[in-house]
Each structure stands twice: as structure tokens, then as C-alpha cells.
Symmetry: C2
Subunit: 385 residues, 2 copies
């Protein structure tokens, strides 16, 4: 197949920042792209070859879009799977496959998949709705504390809550959910796996998600994770196993817990480029985005090793500011060595909205960590006067 400066067409469902970063690589290889997104101001609108506005959950919209392209991928899981299935049955290549996506899109189904395939994960119970969960608590069949997760449509921390007493359930939506055992863990880790249709498979190094001590928010993604080599080797092996068992094609971001006994338990997976892999643009021989593209086009996978240590800091809208965005002190952080801001291109900020990220690379991971903290304390995403 000739992808380069040819008539080949790649379709991308979703036009957000993940798609935008993928477009850097489609441009680099001069691969024609079609993007579908509900917003006319999507970050992908520029740099794709053809942009279509439309609802990603609407069967007809997704189906008609998919018929225009040769290979179809997505940068967000919330897409109409039935349309993907029909497209696949009609010969359009859809990667990751709708079959895999179905196993991942619902967290209850995802958990069952781990249980069935002997993939280590925390204990859990599935419930059709919140009421059924409450009944089990009242029957003493479910003990506090546990983690409540809605099975679908959760995103960036929404749809997850630690439940320590019955009052913590107040105001939760009455939807399909799971209750997961609380895992006392040392570290939250992630491994990105890439795999192509030929079955070539590679993992990126293990990264560590460092959380804010008070707020329950990832502050830094650190590559490589500052963990024992044995634990890292185990984490990569488990991630490989998960990707193969899903028969996955494309990127799979595997989030994990390192327990206090150095066990690795899978938390959840995302079948696409992932926030935990953004560091790879500057730090890796091949970025996660380039490898996603290589994977779905069945090209040879690129080297996933790092050139240097990398740390990523998310740029989210500061509390108390809404409106036209201003990146306060961005010039200051750009004066420091190895600091690269990525601005996603959303014109309007609001509290906690993901507006960009900053990558810090350095030969010395401790220096990188120090600079990352300075970056975090210096730049602010606010709104103009």
C-alpha cells in the first residue's frame, strides 16, 4: 500500500488535541486525512485535509464519514460502535477494531474481560444501577470503602468516586456501575503498547503518574518511572499480555497500580494515544502518535526507547477564570532548557479544562523533575482582561 503523497485516505473520529498531535505525523508523512468532530472549533480543523462537523455518536454520520476513507481510527472512545461494525463488515479497515472497543468502552465488560483472561486486576462487582448497589450494602454484601465507577461515559476523573459511607452515594447518577476494591498502592503506573495488524508489538517504558498530595489530580507524568527494574519488567510484560489478549491494533494505554507488595494490577485501558504518552513527542525516538499511525497502517513500529528523561505537566484552566485564554508566564518557562509548551488551540479557558501540556526533557531525571515543579508553579492558564 502506498500511503505517502498518494490517494490513500485516513479517517479520524474526533478532532481534539489527541487528533491534533496525530496530524503532526500525518503531515510529516503526507498522508491524507479526514476528520469528524462535533465542534466547528476543533483543534484538528487546521492541518487535516478535510474536516467534517458531526455527531460522533450518530450512526448515519459516522457511517457516511467512514465510507469516505480507507482506514478509520478514533481519538476518543465515545463513538457509534454499530457504525464501526457495519463499516468493518463492508471492508473499511477500522483500527482499533469495534470488537476491542466494545470490550473497553464499558468498564464492567472490561473488568469481566480481565477476570476471564487471568489479567491481574482489583476485585469488583457489577451493578445494573445504583439501587442494586445500595441493596448489597444494606445486605452487608458490599463493604466500605470501595471505588464507585460508572461503566460508561466517565472521563478525566468524572464517573469515579471513593465511597467510605452511605452518604457518599448521594447525588451519584443512577446508572450502570461497578464497585471496585480499594487498592493501597505505592504508585500509579502506565505502559503504552503499540501493535500492528501483523502482530508486531512494542511497549514504551513504564511511566509514573505523580499525584498532588491533596487534590486527587495527576500532576506529573514521569518517564521512566522511578521504580525497581523488576517491577518495570513485570509491568511491561503484563501490558503486552493485555494488548495481545485484546488482539489490539494501534496504541493501548494500560494504567496500573503498583501495590504495596509490588504486585501489578490493571486499573483500566484506553485504546488510543494517551495523556501518559505525551512526553514521547520530545523524549522518545518515536512519539506515541507516530507509532499509532505506523500501527494502524501496518507499517513497522518505531523505536519506543527514550533519548532523554521526560516529564509532562498538564496545563489546565485555573479556578476562577473563564473566557479568552491567556498563558501567564509562558515566556518565562520557555527560557528554561528543555521546556516545550504544547498549546491545544482552545480559545476559551474554564476551570480544569485541559488547554495544553508542557514537556520537560533532560538527561538527568532529577533535574527534569525539579524544572517540572518550577514550570507547574510558574505558568497559569487564566483569562484576559
Amino acid at each position: 500500500m502506498n500511503y505517502f503523497s498518494s490517494n490513500f485516505k485516513l479517517g479520524i473520529l474526533g478532532g481534539g488535541q489527541l487528533g491534533k498531535m496525530l496530524l503532526f505525523d500525518t503531515r510529516k508523512f503526507d498522508i491524507q486525512t479526514y476528520v469528524l468532530d462535533p465542534s466547528d472549533e476543533a483543534p484538528c480543523k487546521i492541518a487535516c485535509n478535510n474536516f467534517f462537523k458531526g455527531d460522533l455518536m450518530d450512526f448515519e454520520t459516522v457511517y457516511n464519514f467512514g465510507k469516505l476513507v480507507d482506514v478509520l481510527t478514533f481519538e476518543i472512545e465515545l463513538v457509534n460502535i454499530k457504525a464501526l461494525e457495519k463499516l468493518e463488515s463492508e471492508g473499511i479497515k477500522v483500527f482499533p477494531s469495534p470488537k476491542t472497543l466494545k470490550l473497553i468502552q464499558n468498564k464492567g465488560v472490561q473488568k469481566d474481560f480481565y477476570a476471564k483472561n487471568n489479567i491481574p486486576t482489583s476485585d469488583y462487582k457489577r451493578f445494573d444501577n445504583l439501587k442494586k448497589l445500595v441493596v448489597q450494602i444494606l445486605d452487608s454484601k458490599l463493604k466500605f470503602p470501595f471505588v464507585w465507577k460508572c461503566t460508561q461515559f466517565g472521563y478525566d476523573g468524572t464517573g469515579v468516586k471513593i465511597i467510605r459511607c452511605i452518604e457518599d452515594l448521594d447525588n451519584l447518577p443512577d446508572v450502570e456501575c461497578i464497585a471496585e476494591a480499594m487498592i493501597p498502592f505505592k504508585n500509579e503506573l502506565a505502559v503504552i503498547v503499540c501493535r500492528n495488524p501483523s502482530g508486531d508489538i512494542k511497549t514504551y517504558p513504564v511511566v509514573e503518574m505523580e499525584f498532588h498530595p491533596e487534590a486527587n489530580q495527576v500532576e506529573y507524568v514521569i518517564c521512566p518511572a522511578r521504580i525497581d527494574n523488576k517491577v518495570a519488567t513485570k509491568a511491561r510484560a503484563i501490558a503486552l499480555d493485555v494488548s495481545e489478549k485484546f488482539n489490539h491494533v494501534g496504541l493501548l494505554a494500560v494504567e496500573m497500580f503498583q501495590t504495596e507488595n509490588d504486585e501489578i494490577l490493571i486499573n483500566e485501558v484506553a485504546p488510543r494515544p494517551h495523556n501518559s504518552g505525551h512526553y514521547s513527542i520530545e523524549a522518545s525516538y518515536t512519539s506515541q502518535f507516530e507509532n499509532h499511525l505506523r500501527a494502524i497502517l501496518n507499517l513497522p513500529l518505531g523505536n519506543t526507547d527514550s533519548k532523554v528523561a521526560g516529564i509532562m505537566v498538564n496545563l489546565v484552566g485555573a479556578e476562577g477564570f473563564s473566557g479568552d485564554v491567556v498563558y501567564e508566564n509562558i515566556e518565562k518557562i520557555m527560557s528554561w532548557n528543555g521546556v516545550t509548551p504544547h498549546i491545544y488551540g482552545k480559545k476559551q479557558t474554564r476551570p480544569f479544562r485541559k488547554m495544553g501540556h508542557v514537556t520537560i526533557v533532560n538527561e538527568d531525571i532529577n533535574k527534569a523533575r525539579k524544572i517540572a515543579e518550577e514550570v507547574k508553579n510558574t505558568i497559569r492558564v487564566i483569562s484576559g482582561q
Copy 2:
């Protein structure tokens, strides 16, 4: 000044591959771009915010385009300087400045500038036309061999010829020209300098241009150059001096000869991102394109050091092929570690047309050099069936 996701507008004259690679960084920072190019199929047409088709040498076209933007730069020197001067006089920031561009655009004027400013360069004579040069030969005032260069509009080896006898002048155009002394040299080197309006200035490491032993074509650009540290230090110092004497803003690519006595002589300069700096996308902490952008926006300059060794191989159209381009064996070279193709997006190949480049990075420069040779011998730019 707020450049990021703001109403600020950057104009770029020229929409070729250099502009295209610059657009990766304008997208990364979400800086609005306007591009002017004569071709409707320019590589920059995608990924800029607004594309305009028009003649870069036409006063009105360039002037009207420039009035739309806040800062104006160019990716090709062959632009209407009078329009740039008028724009600058009306408050548009033009970087590099038309004053510098005037000193560089004509190679005779450029040589005079070096002579006047004590910048080491080869001996030369200027001629208004070829006939006047012939008269000097006949009068024995100009000896063979020498290098004939037309003073304007030369590009990629056109407009330069080694003259060993009077017959070598046959078929040369009767235009303004210079005759340069032939320099027996060990190496052709280049240093890219970036400088912002505040006068912050940095140089990239010295690169080495390795030529094909028979054909007079650059085969590899190698960073760092495999030369003595003292020579490298001298080359960087001279490049800094040249940039400062031009009072240059933006990137200045300084091409040099390392003579047999380890003298450094300036060959010529280009006031823009340059082929000799393409390796920086993968190998450097900050690519030449990002640093050009930082420089012309008066942002702090990024670290010009390398993470790893980098080698660039140009992808030019193979002899005997014209038509719809096919990159033969591109999948094969992509299976090797640290190999990244850049496809500029020209649909049609023709012999020697610059269609793309390949970067090879490795911690070990000798390994990189070996892989680069394999890349060169494997990929071919041909046309389809």
C-alpha cells in the same frame, strides 16, 4: 505580546517544505499563520490558517499580504524586498529585516559585506556581466581555475560552476556574477545561528556536509561534525560574529569551508531555516524551526544542544522518473531504529527534485552514519506505474 491562541497573526512568504516544517511549531503553539505562495499545491497549504496564492516577487501582492499580519517572515529569499521595506516603514515587523536580506540576496553584495567587516572568506571579483569577466581572463587578470557564481537567483547548486578553461564558460548566462578563488578544503561545514530582536543569540553545533565522491552533491549532513574541537569552536565563533554583524533576527545558516590549514572561510549564508538544520527536528532539544519562530517573535531561544547524534539524507527524485511519486522501500527503512522520513507532499517527482528527507538519530554517530548509508542505498524516489 500574547501569541498563543490569540488574534496575533504571523505571515510567511513562501509555502514550500521549509514553511511546512515551520508550521509544525506554529500549530504546537497555536499561533495563527498566513501563507503566500505562487502554487496552489504548496506543501504549506494545509496546516496554515489562511493560504493566499500569489507571486512573491510582485510588489502589490507581497505588500497587500503583509498588511494582513503582525509579524512577517519568509522561507525563501526570492521575495520583493521593496514591499518588505514599505511594510517595515509602516510598522509591520519584518524578520529577517529587508536590510539584512538586501545584503544577502546578491552574492556580490554579500561578499563585499564580508570583506568590509573582516569576516574571513575566499578572494573574489565582481562582474556586472559575463563579458566583463571574459575580458579579465583575456587580459590575464583572472586565472583558472575559479568558481563562477551568478549573484542572484541561484538555488541548490544552480548558478555555480567551477571554471577550469575558457570553454567552461560556454552556455553560462550573461548575468551579474562573481569569480571566487578555488579553496582546497578538508570539509564543508555549516553553523546555524539564531538571534532574536533583544540580541539573545545561540548557535547550533557545527555540522559537516559529506559529499558524494564523484557527483558534486551533498549526500549526508552530519551533526556533530567529526572535526577537532578547536575548529568547531572557531567555526561557531565566526558564525556568531557574522550574525551579529548582519544584525540578523531569525535563523542564519552559515556555510563554511574548513581549509587544509584549519582556517574557516565563509562560503555563503541563508537567512532562514536550512537544509543543514533538518536533523534538529529529531536530534536537538529545540528544532531549528521552533527556534526561528522563537527568534522572530522575540521569545527566549531554546536549547540548541543535541540529545543524540543526527544525520540527514535528502530524498531527491531519481533520474529517469517523472510523474506521480512513489517512495520505494520506505517501509523497509522505517523498520530500522531511529529512522524518520519526512515527505514534503509534492505529488509529482522529477529528477533531482527535493521531495523529502530522512533523519537518522543514534547515540553513536558511527552507527548513525552506517544506517544513513543503508537508507541512501535503499529508498528511491520514483514514479508509479
